[in-house]
């Protein structure tokens, strides 16, 4: 297996798919000549040329809408948001058009579109550049939402997203791009809607995705030192959600902590917690705990940014709470 960076796994997924199907193209700010703001599309302009790796002006609504139109008549666009903070400008296109066209045309048109790019906090980028917006898109019927946490999943899931007939939103945490991992040689895909148990354990189930998944894995090691054996479940795809895998884990541990970088209010973790309580109340030994970002815009100051985000300490505290150790 090759040991590669998350950003390169995504680049491979796009390049391999574009070699396979010439209807696929990549469009966004700085994706071509500049090689991608985060270098995910490095080398792609050279290989595929400017008709398939397309640099745009700073016009998120415009080029996302262009992607939607192209998708309606048979092309398969991948739209790169330089960061998901800017996808907010394209939300009208994504929510009112991409997510609705199939339904409101009575199934006559489909929109096989991928919108991908980095999200979440990185190093002190301040309020307008640190947002985790998964829940906004998860709220919308007609969209699928994926959030891979490791290079292998990133490649396999992005390939599935590109092949999907529906609009798929792919969140790539900005802070993950440089992280490394094993990626299988040869062709493979990972289905949308299938979670993955990233660490087996018996005492408590930690549920997290993307950057928070890695934080949970580190925290699980810390918990192990304290004699607590955590199972870590990575939903990988947030809509649709693989409740089966989650509930299997809860049946084993009877205790759940969900960790989400975004704000608590109407967050994805609230949805998961609600589903667990309804489908597994009788097997829960404690109320489901959520560790989320603080309900405030993320500030610039270092100490405040740290305080605003989930941390291993907060996770450990929540774990002890569901185990009645605190």
């Amino acid at each position: 297996m090759a040991h590669i960076a998350y950003r390169d796994a995504l680049g491979q997924a796009m390049s391999e798919e574009m070699r396979r199907d010439d209807k696929i193209f990549l469009m966004g700010e700085e994706v071509g000549f500049y090689q991608g703001a985060f270098k995910v599309s490095r080398g792609m302009l050279e290989e595929f040329g400017p008709m398939r790796v397309i640099d745009t002006p700073i016009t998120e609504a415009g080029f996302t809408g262009v992607g939607i139109g192209a998708a309606m008549v048979g092309l398969r666009p991948i739209i790169e948001m330089m960061t998901f903070n800017f996808s907010i400008l394209a939300m009208d296109q994504i929510i009112n058009n991409a997510a609705k066209i199939r339904s409101m045309s009575g199934g006559q048109f489909t929109v096989p579109l991928v919108v991908r790019g980095p999200g979440g906090s990185a190093a002190r980028l301040a309020a307008q550049h640190s947002q985790s917006l998964e829940s906004l898109y998860c709220h919308i019927a007609g969209l699928k939402v994926i959030a891979p946490s490791v290079p292998k999943d990133a490649k396999g899931l992005l390939k599935s997203a590109i092949r999907d007939e529906n609009p798929v939103i792919c969140f790539e945490a900005q802070a993950l791009y440089g992280t490394m991992g094993e990626v299988p040689e040869g062709e493979y895909t990972i289905p949308i809607g299938v979670a993955d148990v990233k660490r087996e354990g018996k005492d408590v189930t930690l549920i997290a995705w993307s950057k928070m998944l890695l934080m949970c894995l580190r925290t699980a090691e810390e918990l192990a030192k304290q004699g607590i054996d955590a199972e870590v479940v990575d939903p990988r795809t947030l809509r649709p959600l693989d409740m089966e895998t989650i509930l299997n884990s809860v049946r084993k541990t009877n205790r759940v902590v969900i960790v989400e970088e975004a704000w608590p209010y109407a967050g994805v973790s609230a949805e998961i917690a609600d589903r667990i309580t309804h489908e597994a109340l009788d097997i829960l030994d404690a109320p489901v705990e959520r560790v989320t970002g603080v309900d405030a815009p993320i500030p610039y100051a270092k100490n405040l940014e740290q305080a605003a985000l989930p941390s291993p300490e907060k996770i450990i505290h929540a774990v002890k709470k569901v185990m009645y150790l605190e």
Binding site: F33, Y34, I58, Y300, K302
Partner: protein, 322 residues
């Protein structure tokens, strides 16, 4: 009013302050004292200094993320700007905003914003309030040429023109939006012509020449104040540094030769030369000015360094007003 002579020595001082302040900021960034995104304005100083110098102190300023120059030209305290870059409680935005989000309500400095084009409707709204309240203030809205293709830009300019709002839209055309030159982002090469679509008068100014900026902006601003109609100004300028601290100054999307060519028209050196030739300033006075600015910059770093971090309560304190 337009006959008043530009305060050139003061402009020289302000431009040097902006330049030295930012050179120091770059150093502090390299040391990890400043984090996040930090976009330097080096090369473009004449635009902010000349334009804001031509405005009244109570006119409003709204700008984007490349905002250190506008803040200093508006008279925000250098030490409090530096403290903001350090993320300290004493910063102009109390450490909450950082480099891209400098604010000073007391100076009608309405903020730096990080979403390209997102502040243009906001500036327009301040203009709307001026009309609504029958006030005489004008709004100066700065943005890069990268904003001009965006929907926010066009929607806001249409409203401003339709409703006759007192806003000066100042496009700082430094030729690049990140790695994309204007030829590859705008169908209109002559950016100012975008104003035509909104029936708005427009001007070109030489953004490397603070005298041209000042003289033309003086007329433009007073014109807007009198006519209550918005105006579009394209200042042609150039950024010497990379787009942000992680982007190299040259190499990938432009050559060193191109930058060196532009530096021949450096706004600071040309003004300094001119003042020396006309004997309006002596070399000794220039050195003295440099030393004073050096002290201000060093003091600002010291102040920032010594200032406390914001208290933890600040995290949620400013989310809602009480």
């Amino acid at each position: 009013m337009t006959s008043k002579k530009p305060p050139l020595i003061e402009f020289l001082r302000q431009m040097i302050l902006v330049r030295r302040f930012e050179e120091k900021a770059a150093e502090m960034y390299a040391l990890g004292k400043i984090a996040g995104f930090c976009h330097l304005y080096i090369g473009e100083e004449a635009v902010a200094v000349g334009a804001i110098g031509a405005a009244n102190p109570d006119d409003y300023i709204v700008t984007a993320y490349r905002d250190h120059g506008h803040a200093l030209a508006r008279g925000l305290e250098p030490k409090r700007v530096m403290a903001e870059l350090f993320g300290k409680a004493t910063g102009v935005s109390k450490g909450m905003g950082g480099s891209m989000h400098l604010f000073d309500a007391g100076k009608n400095f309405m903020g730096g914003y990080a979403i390209v084009g997102g502040h243009i409707p906001v500036a327009t709204g301040i203009g709307f309030a001026m009309k609504y309240e029958k006030k005489d203030q004008v709004v100066l809205c700065f943005f890069g040429e990268g904003s001009v293709p965006s929907g926010n830009f066009h929607e806001a300019l249409n409203l401003a023109s339709l409703w006759r709002l007192p806003v000066v839209y100042i496009c700082e055309n430094n030729r690049f939006g990140m790695g994309t030159p204007v030829e590859r982002s705008s169908a209109l090469y002559d950016i100012a012509h975008a104003a035509k679509a909104h029936d708005m008068p427009f001007h070109h100014i030489d953004g490397m020449d603070v005298i041209d900026v000042y003289n033309q902006m003086k007329k433009v601003i007073e014109g807007v104040r009198a006519s209550k109609r918005p105006i579009f100004v394209e200042a042609r300028t150039y950024r010497y540094m990379g787009h942000s601290m992680s982007d190299p100054a040259h190499g990938h999307y432009r050559t060193k030769a191109e930058i060196d060519e532009q530096k021949k028209r450096d706004p600071i050196l040309t003004l300094q030369q001119r003042l020396l030739e006309k004997k309006e300033i002596t070399p000794e006075e220039v050195s003295k000015m440099e030393r004073e600015i050096q002290d201000i910059v060093l003091e600002s770093v010291e102040f920032a360094e010594k200032s406390p971090e914001p208290p933890l309560e600040a995290l949620t304190e400013y989310v809602y007003s009480k």
